[in-house]
């Protein structure tokens, strides 16, 4: 990783999914400043650590729900309830189509909820759209410098 500010925090535990997601992001030329957290605890550590350190927060968090250690919804809750991190857009990227998950996520303040299509092309397209939207189109609050 270069020492440029991280743009995307990708929280994903499944190696296949991880690889595919990275591949999709790369193909879409979204960014290469991506940090990967393999479970919820790592994700929280990273976020809390970077804000403590005063590093600028990532511009987008792609969060899977089914995570070991700390569950995705938990991460969501914590991040959204922490004033330091709540402004960061979080997009849940998960296989779960369950209403309960969707409802809960939005309740917790998720910015978007995407279901990972099995079809890779569609998955790629979705990732690309995501990236373009959140990194380029969407206005984020200025990052703390």
């Amino acid at each position: 990783m270069n020492n440029q500010a991280i743009e995307i925090l990708l929280v994903e535990d499944n190696p296949s999914d991880l690889q595919l997601t990275l591949r999709a992001l790369q193909k879409a030329n979204i960014s290469n400043r991506i940090h990967v957290a393999r479970d919820g605890a790592e994700a929280l550590e990273f976020m809390q650590g970077s804000s403590t350190a005063g590093d600028p927060s990532p511009r987008l968090i792609l969060l899977d729900l089914k995570l070991p250690k700390v569950d995705g919804l938990d991460v969501l809750r914590q991040l959204k309830s922490d004033p330091r991190t709540q402004a960061v857009p979080i997009v849940v990227l998960t296989s779960s189509k369950e209403q309960s998950d969707i409802v809960e996520s939005y309740r917790l303040g998720v910015n978007s909820y995407i279901v990972k299509p099995v079809n890779f092309e569609r998955f790629s397209a979705a990732v690309k759209d995501l990236g373009l939207y959140w990194l380029l189109l969407n206005q984020s609050p200025n990052r703390a410098e």
């Binding site: 296949s16 591949r23 779960s96 890779f120 998955f123």
Partner: protein, 773 residues
């Protein structure tokens, strides 16, 4: 002095003439004077001789009337008046002495003659004999006999003699006694003095006609005594005649029959009364008389009517003719014993009429005894009580019925007086309920018997006063053994024999209460169990939910990997593969896709049973349009005509129904994919009470032979290379429709499109309508 002017005695003067002597003399003088005056006026015509002629009239009259004396007086006055005074007055020439003498003589002669004409006062022959008319010696004996007879007669009978005119010439003592008149009042008087006016004119006419003919008359006469009282006499009137000349005297001999007559009249009166009584009796009662042996001697009309026998059929018969067989022999034996012993018997008898029908009579049989005290006849008087007997029987039966109803009613009933709560009657159920005997409640009040508490009684009484009835009041009471009772009491006010009473029906709730308690307990136990089960179910559901969730999630991940890396393979190393190699890669990818769909469908399908059905009014037309709008974007670039008709609302779960429409419509779009011009129609059949929706397409259709497989899970009627699909879609439709109580079916023909029908409600159910959301 009443003289009967109606009696017709021939020769009798009509003018009433006074009999007293002085008046007769005066009358003579007046008559004479008036004749002189008349004569004087007629002198012109008769030249002075008229007076002479005329004078003869008053003289004759006076002599006839009064006898010799008055006649002579009239003569003297006449001569004096006519021959001396009148000429002096009128100045006419005086009458010659010879003329005077002639007048005197004629007057004297007339007077004497007239005297002789008069009937002499009959003197008894014996009296005249005593007066000196000495009859010949043989007549003396006859007279003696006659005198004796007379004395005897006078001792026995009432005797009178009258002259031919009816004037009494002689009466005996008895006559005076019975008529109460004295001899002086009777002699010379007309016998009508004792007339009572009882007998009509015709009677007297016949009487006089008979005796004047010289015949003896016999009869009964009612006379009137001096004091106005009446007496009857049996009379024989004998006309006394000399040779064949008309009778000059009548001898009447009477016997006093007043008593007899009175007795006769009393008898008549009594008889009439008896007859009246009998008639009245015949009107009212059935009367029969029998001889001592019991044979019928008399029956009245009513007897004939009720027994239906004619009089001839009854007389001489025994009463056994009417025997109905109802009474035992002893009954009749007792009856005969009573009346034969001269006792009066009363009783009720059932008889048999001629036609075989029965009637009841209330009878009184009275024996009548002869001089020896033995019955000589029996008189029976009966009243028809058939109707009463029938009424009695009906009443008895009714009483029994109601008594039975009261006594054996399963509800406990008590009748008591309102004033003092005195118990009048209770039925068996009551005794059972309160565990007491009839003796326990006899002559007790509800309170004194220990059945009811004072307060409760007061409550009930107050309600009765207010409304006249109490309905389903729940009270607590105790049985006589002290057991507590929960009762439901209903009371109604009734009036019995003028007394205000109450009829109370008591239902024991104790058992019911217990049962209710049990039910309640059971219910709560059940509820607990249900809650437990529900909890179990819910937790099971949760588990299932979690399971399927994690399963689907976990299954999808590898699928993604499969698909993704195969694509990566194609992307990165595609040019190193030949067509076959690339084909294999595609197959891998397709399989992954299919599996993904399968998982989705399965998940949805399994969830269908778990999701509760929320039934509300659904705006179906709007829903369909929504679904179509969702699906259309995928069908871009082809000629697809979707026609949606007006669709009625239905009751159902919107989310689930949306799945139905999604499946049916996506199928329709899918299977018309090969048509150059696809037409999909959505509508509703108008038959029946529930709406039947349909989706009709002009797609590839199917063979109806396989229609049964249509809704099976994973069943498909087309090959995967023709049309893709998992075969779960219609199963989902079926499952949802069934959960709604409806049905789903399809009609199609190969290559001619298909129509899928479904209803979301069962025809008979009209479930609770919820407001549409």
């Amino acid at each position: 002095m009443n003289q009967d002017t109606s009696s017709s005695t021939p020769g009798r003067w009509v003018i009433p003439l006074p009999k007293s002597g002085a008046l007769v003399y005066l009358g003579a003088m007046v008559l004479t004077a008036s004749t002189i005056a008349l004569g004087a006026s007629l002198d012109h015509f008769f030249r002075g001789h008229a007076t002479l002629v005329l004078l003869l009239i008053p003289v004759a009259l006076s002599a006839r009337w009064g006898g010799r004396g008055p006649g002579i007086a009239a003569t003297l006055i006449g001569v004096l008046g006519a021959t001396v005074l009148l000429p002096a007055y009128t100045g006419a020439e005086p009458v010659t002495h010879g003329y005077q003498v002639a007048l005197l003589c004629s007057g004297l002669v007339i007077s004497v003659l007239a005297q002789r004409e008069q009937s002499p006062v009959p003197e008894s022959p014996a009296a005249s004999a005593e007066a000196g008319n000495l009859p010949p010696p043989d007549l003396r004996a006859v007279l003696k006999e006659y005198a004796d007879l007379r004395i005897a007669l006078n001792e026995h009978a009432i005797v009178e003699t009258t002259d031919h005119r009816g004037v009494i010439t002689h009466v005996n003592e008895k006559f005076c006694a019975i008529s109460q008149y004295s001899r002086g009042e009777l002699i010379g008087r007309d016998h009508r003095i004792v007339n009572s006016r009882h007998h009509p004119k015709a009677f007297w006419a016949q009487f006089w006609a008979t005796i004047q003919r010289g015949e003896v008359w016999n009869g009964e006469i009612k006379n009137r005594a001096k004091d106005g009282s009446y007496y009857w006499v049996a009379t024989t009137v004998v006309p006394l005649r000399e040779d064949h000349r008309p009778p000059r005297h009548y001898l009447a001999i009477h016997a006093n029959i007043t008593d007899r007559k009175l007795a006769e009249e009393n008898l008549r009166t009594a008889t009439r009364e008896l007859l009246d009584l009998k008639t009245a009796l015949d009107e009212h009662a059935i009367v029969a008389m029998t001889d001592p042996a019991g044979r019928i001697t008399y029956v009245n009309d009513k007897f004939c009517t009720i027994s239906q026998y004619r009089r001839e059929e009854l007389l001489g018969q025994d009463h056994r003719l009417l025997n109905s067989g109802h009474h035992p022999k002893a009954f009749f034996q007792e009856m005969w014993r009573t009346i034969a012993a001269a006792g009066v018997w009363h009783g009720e008898i059932k008889n048999r009429a001629k036609d075989g029908s029965y009637y009841w009579v209330e009878s009184t049989i009275v024996p009548f005894l002869d001089e020896q005290g033995r019955p000589r006849q029996y008189v029976s008087i009966r009243a028809d009580i058939t109707v009463r007997k029938l009424a009695e029987a009906a009443l008895r039966e009714s009483q029994l019925r109601f008594s039975a109803a009261f006594q054996y009613s399963p509800a406990a009933i008590v009748i008591h007086q309102r004033s003092n709560l005195a118990i009048l009657d209770v039925n068996e159920s009551f005794l059972e309920m309160f565990e007491c005997t009839r003796e326990d409640v006899a002559r007790q009040s509800l309170i004194s018997a220990g059945l009811l508490d004072g307060n409760v009684a007061h409550d009930i009484s107050a309600q009765l006063d207010a409304r006249g009835e109490v309905n389903n009041l729940e009270v607590v009471a105790r049985t006589l053994r002290g057991k507590l009772l929960h009762l439901n009491v209903s009371v109604k006010e009734v009036e019995l024999a003028g007394e205000s009473c109450a009829l109370a029906i008591v239902v024991d709730l104790t058992a019911r209460r217990r049962a209710e308690e049990e039910v309640r307990t059971l219910n709560s136990v059940l509820e607990k169990r249900v809650m437990e089960r529900t909890a179990q179910l819910e937790s099971a559901n949760h588990e299932l939910e979690a399971f399927s969730y994690s399963v689907s999630h976990d299954l999808r991940s590898p699928l993604r990997a499969m698909d993704g890396f195969t694509q990566a393979l194609l992307d990165d190393y595609g040019e190193k593969l030949d067509a076959q190699g690339r084909h294999y890669a595609h197959v891998v990818r397709d399989s992954a896709q299919k599996m993904s769909h399968l998982i989705d469908d399965l998940l949805a399908f399994s969830r269908l049973s778990r999701v509760p059905l929320a039934r509300r009014a659904v705006r179906v037309e709007a829903l369909v349009r929504e679904v179509v709008a969702e699906l259309l974007p995928r069908e871009q670039g082809r000629a697809l005509d979707v026609r949606i008709a007006a669709l009625p609302d239905c009751q159902g779960d919107r989310a689930l129904l949306k799945q139905v429409w999604l499946n049916l419509l996506s199928n329709a779009f899918k299977y018309t994919g090969k048509r150059p011009h696809a037409v999909v129609e959505v509508g509703c059949l108008s038959t029946g009470s529930v709406p039947i929706y349909f989706v009709k397409d002009n797609g590839t259709g199917f063979d109806m032979r396989y229609a049964g497989k249509l809704f099976g899970v994973f069943q498909r009627l087309h090959r995967m290379d023709e049309f893709e699909g998992t075969g779960v879609g219609l199963a989902i439709v079926q499952r949802i429709v069934q959960r709604h109580g409806g049905k789903a079916w399809a009609e199609a023909a190969p290559d001619q499109g298909a129509t899928f029908f479904f209803s979301a409600e069962s025809p008979s159910e009209i479930l609770h309508e919820q407001p549409s959301h």
